[in-house]
């Protein structure tokens, strides 16, 4: 058995102590000195890491144990409003607050990690607004911890259970690995601060409004560097350091996600990553559209070296893939344009649409019916500069595979 009191004894004694909180502290200490060896031996009898419940089964609840001590020791009975003179707590009344403080921390950790992740993965400020929902919970938890300390929380049954799991985990495994991570702790706080600052700056780059956020990030960075090394002596700082760590972990993961996304997009479309907004390169019928830079290309006109328009050309890409797009035609009855197929023959007839009146006048004041007209002619002429390099015709290569013009080309589908 080790010289330090194992958990169950400590918890039991703390509850006895809190039930005796109104007695002089030195006297309580004397009483506990009598009780402690007994509990230690009892714990040794009960085997490795006994539960508090096991002690309670043998001795009764700490509170009734304390009551028996009072009765037999000639101490006054507990005053109904026993104020906590020392740092000890009133377990019965304090458990709700302690529970809120603990689960508030857990909740905040989740929230911070989640919103940090979201903000990083989209590189946007908006998700951080979600922290406004988390902040009040954390604030209440912090207020409790600052006022009452962490002792009530360490005695919560769920916390005791968690610690039991943690210690048995540590005992089962080679503690070398854990020790190694312990040595990394100081570096972690610095890393946290660095991530916060870099992330804050990145957000400002994306969105100048984030300037308002930057001081907060800097404050958090300073706080985590300050609080990290003190955690050992003041467990209350966990309520500061852990949410910030969670936020940092979340944003690191989010940043990694964004980076992977970015790389994937780069290699996929070879360029312009524009932050979450992926323009659609397809038209309403799901056919690809031609693009020139970032603009849609609706039609293509070709001229030969003499400036003579070529009225029937078929376009292919470097792999011999036909550059087919949706072909539209006028619908006489309604004057609307509609799809008649898709092919790679250009130029397309121009569709002129407008209104006409009963006399057939186009686009007049009395226009009542919409109309649509297909115009095949080339709407402009091109002056090909004489100096333009003309490739010698002998080197003109056939496409790698020479696909036949699509058969469904100009036939209306119905």
């Amino acid at each position: 058995m080790s010289t330090q009191n194992p958990t169950a004894v400590r918890v039991y004694l703390a509850r006895v102590r809190s039930a005796l909180a109104d007695l002089p502290e030195s006297e309580v200490e004397e009483i506990l000195e009598d009780v402690r060896p007994h509990l230690a031996e009892m714990e040794a009898e009960l085997g490795e890491n006994p539960k508090v419940d096991a002690l309670i089964e043998r001795l009764g609840s700490p509170e009734s144990y304390a009551a028996e001590l009072r009765a037999s020791g000639g101490y006054p009975p507990r005053p109904p409003d026993a104020g906590d003179k020392t740092t000890v707590l009133k377990v019965k009344t304090g458990i709700g607050g302690a529970r809120f403080a603990f689960w508030g921390l857990v909740f905040s950790v989740g929230g911070f990690a989640l919103f940090g992740f979201a903000a990083a993965v989209w590189v946007r400020v908006d998700p951080l607004l979600g922290l406004l929902f988390v902040a009040p919970v954390l604030a209440i938890s912090v207020a409790y911890v600052v006022r009452k300390g962490v002792a009530p929380i360490t005695e919560l049954p769920e916390v005791v259970k968690l610690r039991e799991i943690a210690t048995s985990f540590q005992n089962n495994r080679n503690s070398k690995g854990i020790n190694y991570f312990r040595t990394l702790k100081p570096a972690w706080w610095v890393l946290c601060a660095a991530v916060l600052v870099i992330f804050g700056l990145l957000l400002v780059l994306r969105d100048t409004e984030a300037v308002l956020l930057l001081p907060l990030m800097l404050l958090a960075a300073v706080a985590v560097v300050w609080a990290g090394p003190k955690l050992k002596t003041d467990r209350r700082l966990l309520w500061l350091a852990v949410p910030i760590s969670a936020f940092v972990i979340g944003s690191i993961l989010g940043g990694a996600g964004a980076a992977v996304d970015l790389i994937a997009k780069r290699s996929y479309s070879n360029g312009s990553y524009n932050g979450g907004y992926t323009p659609s390169y397809n038209d309403n019928y799901g056919n690809p559209q031609l693009m020139y830079g970032s603009q849609d290309v609706e039609n293509i006109y070709a001229f030969d070296a003499e400036g003579k328009p070529l009225t029937e050309i078929y376009l292919y890409d470097e792999n011999g893939r036909p550059l087919s797009t949706t072909r539209y035609a006028c619908e006489r009855s309604t004057g609307e344009k509609r799809k008649v197929g898709d092919d790679n023959r250009y130029p397309r007839p121009r569709l002129e649409r407008g209104v006409q009146d009963n006399d057939g006048n186009l686009n007049g004041y009395n226009g009542s019916r919409s109309y649509c007209q297909e115009k095949a002619e080339v709407p402009f002429s091109a002056a090909i500069p004489k100096g333009a390099p003309v490739p010698p015709s002998t080197t003109a290569q056939a496409p790698p595979s020479s696909p036949a013009p699509p058969s469904n080309s100009t036939q209306p589908t119905r």
Binding site: M1, D34, H38, E41, A44, A66, L69, R70, S72
Partner: protein, 107 residues
């Protein structure tokens, strides 16, 4: 009749008695009482009684560090304690005799 009720009156005497021969720390005292046959004695009652007797000046205490656990606070009977044991013992014997004879008549 419940022994725990009877114990309330005589626990002081019992604790003083088990410390007469040899000093002991709290758990020692409890064990000696149990071995002597007072199974019903409550753990906390013994520790409370020890404190009360100590505060009444009937016991002295000293601390002995333990190699394998928390240190142990030993209690020993001092002169007033021995006197009290003597007196209370006398009272008990008289009382017990009275009770015995009472019960003997009744039986």
């Amino acid at each position: 009749m419940e022994i725990s009720q009877l114990l309330k009156g005589v626990l002081d005497l019992a604790v003083l008695a088990v410390l007469r021969g040899e000093d002991g720390y709290g758990y020692d005292v409890l064990r000696r009482l149990r071995i002597a046959g007072l199974q019903e004695v409550g753990d906390a009652s013994v520790y409370g009684t020890l404190r009360r007797l100590y505060k009444a000046g009937l016991l002295t205490s000293y601390v002995v560090p333990s190699e394998e656990g928390p240190h142990r606070k030993y209690y020993s009977l001092n002169e007033p304690g021995r006197q009290r044991l003597e007196e209370s013992g006398q009272t008990w014997r008289t009382f017990a005799t009275t009770m015995n004879s009472l019960l003997g008549e009744a039986a």
